[in-house]
Every structure is written in C-alpha cells, then in structure tokens.
Symmetry: C2
Subunit: 312 residues, 2 copies
Amino acid sequence: MIFPEIDVLISEVGMRDGLQAVSRTMATAHKKQWLAAMVAAGVREIEVTSFVPPKLLPQMADASEITQYARSFDGLSIVGLAPNLKGAQAALAAGVHKITIPCSASEAHSRANVRKTREQMVDEVRNIVALRNEMAPQVKIEAGISVAFGCTLQGVVPEDDVIALLESVIAAGADESGLADTTGMANPAQVRRLFKRAVAAVGMQHVGAAHMHNTRGLGLANCLAAYDVGIREFDSSMAGLGGCPHAPGASGNVVTEDLVMMWEAMGVRTGINIEKLIAAREPLKVGLPGEPLYGMTAEAGLPLGFVYAAAQ
Amino acid sequence: MIFPEIDVLISEVGMRDGLQAVSRTMATAHKKQWLAAMVAAGVREIEVTSFVPPKLLPQMADASEITQYARSFDGLSIVGLAPNLKGAQAALAAGVHKITIPCSASEAHSRANVRKTREQMVDEVRNIVALRNEMAPQVKIEAGISVAFGCTLQGVVPEDDVIALLESVIAAGADESGLADTTGMANPAQVRRLFKRAVAAVGMQHVGAAHMHNTRGLGLANCLAAYDVGIREFDSSMAGLGGCPHAPGASGNVVTEDLVMMWEAMGVRTGINIEKLIAAREPLKVGLPGEPLYGMTAEAGLPLGFVYAAAQ
C-alpha cells in the first residue's frame, strides 16, 4: 500500500468504467469539477480515463487533457486504461502512474471486448511492460482479469482458466493483476475461493484490486469476502455508474459511497470523508443531467452517532 | 432448523414489516394472492401480519383472516407479530406457529414503538410465555431485539445493553431471540461481534434470526457476516418493502430476491426458486400499484449458467 495512513485503497473507476457505459459524453470541464470534488473528499486513486480511439469511445476523447489535469493534484494516484500498445504509449505520454490492461478470462469476451484472443492479450501485456521499462520505469502495470467470475457470453468461466491467465500476465511482467466481476455474477464463496487461489498462485504482492459489480445486489458482500481473504484494494464507482458495453446485461459497479460507508463503519480506514464524497455527486449530476445515480448511503446520510474508523 | 432439506431459513417479513410501512392498505384478496405466490416459490416461513389494534395499523385489520388463510398451506411456518398480551391472545386464537415480540434495545425506541420501557417489555414476554404454555404449548415465542445495532433516536446502542436484554428475554421464557438492525446502522464487523456475544450469552439454540435492513446498502454484507458466525435464519422482505414507522429515517429491509440469490449462488440451500420468487412480485405490484419495488436480481435475472445450491 502506497498510502500508509489508510487500511484499504478505494480506486474510483467512475470516470472510466462509468462514463464509458453512458452514451452521452460528459464535457471535459464537468469531468474536471467531478475529479476535483472526489480528490477533495479524500479519494486517493482514480482511474481517470481510457486510452482508446475517439471514434470507438468518444466519451474518452479528452484522455490526455484529463490526465494532465489530474496531475495537478499532489499525491493522487492516476490510473489509465489501455487495451493495447498504442493506448499504453498515449497513457505514458500523458503521465499516468498506473496503466490497467483488461485481459478477459473468457475467449468470447476477449474477442468481443478487445478483438484479440487471450494469448494475444498476454503478448500485449509483455509489449506494454517492455515499453514501460524503456519510457517510464516507475509506472505500474496492472493486468485486470475481466469476467473472472462468469461471463454473459460464455456462462461459467472455469477457475483454472482464471488462474492460468493470472499467472501468464504476471509472468509477462505485469506488476499486479486483479480479479474483475465485470458481469456481476460473483458470489462471496467464489470470491474467497478465487482470491485465495490467486494469492497462492502469484503471491499477495502481485494480486491487485477486487473489481466488483452490483448487478444482483451482491457487490458489497463480495468486497467483504475479498477483504476476509486479505485483499486491500477495491475498485468502485461513484453512484454505481458503469457496466461493460461488450458484456450484455452487465450493470453498475459497486457504489463507492456505500463501500466507503461499510469500511469506515467497520473501523477500516479509507481516508475518505463520506459527506464530502456525497457532495461530489453534485458535479456528476450537473455533468450528466438525468442520468440515474445509485447508492443508499447518499439517500440515508450518516447514521446518528457515526464515528469514522480513524476515530474509533 | 425445522426444515432438514435447507441450509438457511428465509423468514419473509414483507407482509408485516413491509405492509406496515406503506400508508395504503393492501386488500385482503391481494395479500392472499401474494402469500400463495411466495409459498409456491418455496418460501417456508412468512411473518404474515401484526396483531395490533386496527385503529393503530389499519393495514393489519385482517390479521386473523390472513393467518387462517396461511394455515391452508401445508408445511408453511406462520409467524405473527404481537407487541403485547392482547395481541398474543389474538395471534394464538388465529393459529400462528410462532409469535414474535419486538423488544427495543434502546429506551427511546421502546417508548416510541410500544409505549413501554424495556423492563416492561420483558414482563410482557413473561406474560405471553405463560399464556402460550396454557393455550398452545407447541407455539414458539421469539423476542426480537430491535435497534440492536444503533437507534435513530438515541444513536449508539451499547452492546452490553443488547446482550443484557437478550439474556432477560430468554430468562423470561422466550424460545429464541434474534437481533434486528431496524434502522440500517449495522456493519459487518459489529454483526459478527454482537452475534458471537449473543451465542456465548444464551447458546446458539436460543439465538434467532438476523433481521437486517438495507438503508445504506450493507444488508447482504451484514447477512454474510452473520452467516460467518453460524447464524442460519434470516428475515428479509420481498422487493425490500419495509421500514419502521417509529424509527425515523429507517428504510427498506434486505431484499429477499437478492438474499436468496446470494445463498443459492454460494451453494447454501434456501429451498426457494428464484424465478418463481421474482414472479411473486407481480401480485405485490397488483396489490400496491405504484409502490417502488427494490432489488437488483429481479432486474438482472439469473446469470447465464446459474446452478442452484441443491444441484452444485
């Protein structure tokens, strides 16, 4: 953990996973206001954009400008998604601190999402690592295993396939690899089992974030399950914004506000102020008027007598 | 567990906890259709009503008729809430299998909810047990500890108060006592701690259901936490209907459909068919047109390749 004052790292993915799932494009100025509000709430890591061709994802056409803006906040860890070497070049040029590469555990999703086989994506990871070593050795490379808990195209994804891919991307030089429930099909027993296997396979230092969706309401329970087996990094999205355009039926990420509520109430420090986090929904509302925003904590507010983890 | 074919008992409380929180009254005929649909889905225990004066809760004026109707379903465990001796007399006369008595862990909520002190409620439990012993010794008495995890009137509820009340109601003759997060203030660490203390205090055979609300989105995570320390009975409400009229700010129960989804996916048998359970939302919609229905699983449906616990 690069932030010694916290117990779990919340990696906010709404600006990437969320905004790519919304057909409208949020204006760059609104993105900046939203980002600044989240940083003000204490969010320490933000996946700010995706480095993909604007004709594929016009919502991310301002990737470099947003990354540059994010660099104005001291201490913020800036993540950019890159599906290929060209995207990674742009991400490194823009100045991200971490590149995340989506590697699908199912062949069907891999072809639909990145038009490559799983093996070709491992090669891509290797190439991106080589580029990073040359251009910016301090930048971290994460290869996230998508549809690790089930696929809306293929159905069940064998756990052996997930672990084999995880081992391959780490062998290819990725610093860490998280497990993503892209499609909201995970359950807590499976989460515990698969993360335990991941840790046994590549060591805790190479296991990245738990990226859970809330498609069937199990998102927080799955995060708790991952925490129980030692995971300390969690991807989540403000207001539950998100989904995957190439995984039909996949919907909303775990809601950051509710996830932070759970950790702080449990005595697990996130470094995030919940009231300021809820206030950061305002620029999101302004930037995407009419978009449905999820989350129960924002409706209910803090419980009477609530004490943050750091004060418990 | 009275049902050897299942691993956890879902006690559906929507007809009581849900309908009392809705200002409109569902017609008796619609209640019957809803109940029948839930039984058809495999729901084995239903809290069908509350035995309170109709002028206080007109939604429950058909308490006896609904209980009589529920008795037409073989093997269904029928629960009725009774806040006092008079209610218990009516519940026993109507033919419930279990009476549940709400006992608040906070003095403020006790006075607001039942207009009695906590001590007076323990006396009430003792009197109801004596009546049960005389009239219908086979009927179970549950004394649920309300606001066990926090109170919207008082704020923090000391854990010692909860355990002391739990010990008192069991000493007064209640067969079991569950812990209720009436106000949606619980977190998983607290749930594990308090249920462990409850089991240590009165023995697992006297610890009843975990009754969790989803006010801040933590409902399923809290159920998982209770399961982790050995709890096998869970109250929940179809479509998350519910709340407490005397606990301002308390909202929705854990959604039965999502809770069943979690257990079945984990390999924990509930005996409930999720598709039929989702179908049972229809009579609820018809009976309460326009009422917001919650739940993610009903929106998303079963995942591709889903296998029920009994077939895993």
